[in-house]
């Protein structure tokens, strides 16, 4: 399932290369998340929600939607692991908050994107960016309301904001 997502990203990269035909010997150059940064993001999100009285699970995915950190919160519902993962993947794929995607598909419930593996129209995940480049995403699940999950995701990203450049 994730492999499919990875291939799709590969295709996107290939298209990027197609654009750069005038200098086709150049390699792509980009920043990526490290495990320490991803772990800080995840732990901050989880602790933020915990401080608000909400038990959540958290996923941080990288550029290829690969899992960097999967974190099951104590006493969370079993679905929160899948849900936080799928929100994060959705946010990475859509390059926007998963809640924005959720709103968009309300107007278009037959959107093709809904049929891709792991996509889910649910708030609680944010893309992780370096400038305009989406290098990953964080997804949170477990709070009573996607807005609360998203606030914790934002706290996680804010914590490492000075490193995202």
């Amino acid at each position: 399932m994730l492999r499919t997502a990875h291939l799709a990203t590969g295709l996107a990269l290939a298209m990027t290369c197609g654009v750069a035909t005038s200098t086709n010997a150049q390699l792509a150059s980009h920043k990526d998340l490290t495990l320490p940064v991803a772990l800080t993001i995840a732990e901050t999100a989880l602790e933020t929600c915990k401080a608000q009285g909400n038990k959540v699970s958290v996923h941080v995915v990288g550029r290829d939607a690969e899992v960097l950190v999967a974190m099951r919160g104590d006493d969370t519902g079993p679905h929160t692991m899948e849900n936080s993962l799928r929100k994060a993947i959705t946010s990475r794929m859509q390059r926007r908050p998963s809640g924005e995607f959720a709103n968009a598909v309300k107007q278009n419930p037959t959107a093709g994107a809904l049929h891709l593996a792991n996509m889910i129209p649910a708030q609680g995940a944010l893309p992780i960016k370096v400038g305009d480049d989406v290098i990953g995403a964080i997804g949170v699940s477990g709070s009573p309301g996607g807005d609360k999950d998203e606030a914790c995701a934002k706290a996680g990203i804010d914590k490492v904001a000075d490193q995202l450049k």
């Binding site: 998340l33 950190v69 099951r72 104590d74």
Partner: protein, 163 residues
């Protein structure tokens, strides 16, 4: 899949143990996320100190992932491998390396056909007394014994709390 396996095992165990007082619930200890984070961090740092980049998975009593950490400096296979090693150690309640040694003489063992079972050293069961409450799996070092040493360091770090 895991849920079904757990349900079956749990029912069987509960029925056996609590036959005389069948209204009793089962009471047990489980790994907290905080403890899993300490174990995984310690395992990664230990291996790093030895010169190796590894990925780590810590699984709970049901074989469920409590914490999965992909080391971006380790190979892509290490993430899956550390999970499977841990699942193997949890399932058989012993080091995955012992399982690997055990099936060398029996390469058609049925256990090898189960999902997520891997005959590779590098994971240890996490125990409270004789009760296996989870497992930690490590992958990335050049040699399963080196992975296992880091898994052991992780468990040793929290040994005082495993009771």
């Amino acid at each position: 899949m895991l849920k079904i396996a757990y349900g079956a095992a749990g029912l069987a165990l509960a029925s056996l143990v609590a036959g005389s007082a069948n209204a009793q619930l089962i009471a047990h200890k489980d790994i907290s996320l905080a403890m899993a984070v300490t174990m995984a961090r310690t395992a990664i740092e230990t291996c790093k100190g030895n010169g190796y980049n590894v990925s780590v998975n810590v699984l709970g009593r049901d074989g469920e992932v409590i914490l999965a950490l992909r080391n971006e400096l380790a190979g892509p296979a290490t993430f899956e491998n550390s999970m499977k090693k841990a699942y193997t150690a949890r399932t058989f309640r012993r080091p995955s390396g012992e399982f690997a040694a055990g099936v060398k003489g029996n390469p058609t063992a049925g256990a090898l056909m189960l999902n997520n079972i891997v005959a590779a050293q590098g994971a240890l069961p996490i125990k409270v007394g004789d009760d296996t409450i989870g497992a930690i799996g490590v992958s990335g070092a050049p040699g399963g014994e080196k992975d296992e040493a880091c898994a052991k360091a992780g468990i040793d770090k929290v040994s005082a709390e495993l009771k």
